[in-house]
């Protein structure tokens, strides 16, 4: 049973977006994604300052099983990346919505997150 927090928005490619309300948003991957991947061994993230288009590959998440691309759910500029993931990538497995966050973006279009799936729609998508 995957956890799908109600206050987040979701991409079909299993990234979540948490809008802070001040024009910034935090991005990570869902509980469903971390469970499918298995033990995460490496997370490759972009540099701070990088500009991402919606749907653009922003990095890679590697597990013992395979490597998977990470897709930007919304467009924006990278203002922070999670420093913990370099030495402890398994944090994405244990806390995909909290300690395992991946990026913070300054969002180009504040309403863009609303175009993504809400929790109910994402739950249906992964059922």
């Amino acid at each position: 049973m995957s956890t799908v927090p109600a206050d987040l928005r979701y991409a079909k490619s299993h990234e979540w977006v948490k809008s802070a309300g001040d024009g910034t948003a935090t991005i990570g991957i869902t509980d469903y994604a971390q469970n499918s991947l298995g033990d995460i061994t490496y997370v490759q993230l972009p540099k701070v300052g990088a500009s991402l288009a919606a749907g653009q590959v922003f990095g890679v998440v590697e597990s013992v099983k395979a490597a998977s691309d990470l897709y930007a759910p919304v467009a924006g500029e990278v203002i922070a990346i999670n420093p913990v993931l370099d030495s402890a990538p398994e944090t994405v497995n244990s806390a995909p919505y909290d300690g395992g966050w991946m990026l913070k973006l300054k969002i180009v279009d504040a309403a863009s997150a609303n175009a993504l799936l809400d929790a109910a729609a994402y739950e249906k998508a992964i059922a």
């Binding site: 298995g38 033990d39 061994t41 890679v60 590697e62 013992v64």
Partner: protein, 368 residues
């Protein structure tokens, strides 16, 4: 689409939260909790593996020794009752049919353990090669289940369930005994590089034995361990996996298993001529083991680049070593390139391969 085969413990695995996958046509647990955590548990305390999918074949009769010494590359004449031998068996061209364990139970009574993915091929090959020898070959895979307990606490855990004196069973030796009332061939062997036992027992008793081992082992920190951890453990130990480091196209000499090829054992064996030629002429390729100093896993089939950036081989196995905290693996490269700089391209970044003479970790198998 044919259904996957199941070991007697398939429902036991499901009940304990295993993630079940298709392995060589068998429904097997790849992990229960986490591949990395299960791996670390084996090195720290102990792990319990269901490897019942492996195959068992009996070879009996006056011609058994002669036949087996013709079939495999290692010297079966070295065995005495209670002793185990690891050996490849080869095709006439020196490529490997499978690697296996040969158990001597008594004169004229041998027991073979073969890889799950090769059972049908091996049984056909063994029967074909046996023509002309006075032996009876009996395929017993369906009768046996196999549980492995591996790790520093394995001996204490298994001892708590049996009256057999385990300190009398040395590495690569075995004895008959009962564990929790289940008749077992207690074999001090394993595929992890740790001390431990592989327990061959009647398939119908697998559930009872697994429950007993789990109950006895949990106070020691025993964990159920899947095939994912089994693979990373054997790679850390530098052990070959059939289909990767040894194949129909990779001979034991190319794979660095020269110690299992007894060209001078005094009898001809299948593949001997080809292996003598390879030894005399030098093999064009060799299997190397490497680490990278980086956490990005170098996966099987990744091309290996030589000093001038040209491909000189490919990766055979790759994983993350939870003990070393870096990527480790094996590769088949040209012998000529193996002494120079080698690298792989991971998503546009060139990563150097640091050659390592295996094992990657200190092997703590039994010293008795």
């Amino acid at each position: 689409m044919s259904e996957l085969k199941r070991t007697p413990l398939r429902d036991f695995h499901a009940a304990h939260g295993a993630r079940l996958v298709d392995f060589a046509g068998w429904e097997m647990p790849v992990q229960y909790r986490s591949i990395l955590e299960e791996h670390k548990a084996v090195r720290r305390t102990a792990g319990l593996f269901d490897v019942s999918h492996m195959g068992e074949v009996e070879v009996k009769g006056p011609g058994a020794l002669g036949f087996l010494n013709h079939l495999v590359t290692n010297d079966v004449a070295k065995l005495f009752p209670g002793r185990v031998l690891y050996s490849p068996m080869c095709y006439p061209n020196g490529g490997v049919v499978d690697d296996l364990l040969v158990y001597m139970r008594a004169p004229e009574d041998y027991f073979l353990c073969i890889n799950a993915g090769n059972i049908d091929k091996d049984v056909a090959w063994i029967n074909e090669q046996a023509k002309g020898f006075e032996v009876t070959i009996t395929h017993r895979s369906d009768d046996y289940a196999l549980l492995a307990v591996q790790g520093p606490a394995a001996c204490a855990i298994v001892q708590s369930l049996t009256g057999a004196k385990l300190d009398r069973i040395g590495y690569y030796h075995f004895a008959e005994g009962t564990l929790a009332g289940v008749q077992c061939m207690i074999s001090r062997t394993g595929y992890t590089g740790e001390d431990g036992f592989e327990l061959y027992h009647p398939a119908g008793d697998a559930q009872v034995l697994a429950e007993a081992l789990l109950a006895a082992g949990v106070p020691f920190g025993l964990e159920l361990t899947g095939l994912g951890a089994r693979d990373s453990l054997r790679l850390e130990a530098g052990y070959p996996l059939y289909g990767h480091e040894i194949t129909a196209d990779i001979s034991p000499l190319t794979a660095g298993l020269g110690w299992t090829v007894k060209l001078d054992k005094g009898v001809d064996f299948v593949g001997r001529d080809a292996l003598v030629a390879e030894k005399n002429n030098g093999a064009p390729n060799k299997v190397i083991f490497f680490k990278t100093g980086d956490r990005r896993i170098v996966r099987a089939e990744t091309p290996v680049l030589g000093a001038d950036g040209v491909a000189v081989g490919k990766v055979l196995s790759g994983t993350l070593s939870p003990v070393l905290n870096e990527a480790i693996g094996s590769a088949l490269v040209t012998t000529a390139s193996s002494t120079g700089a080698l690298s792989v391209d991971i998503r546009g970044t060139l990563i150097n391969l640091q050659l390592v003479k295996p094992p990657f970790v200190q092997l703590k198998k039994s010293s008795t």
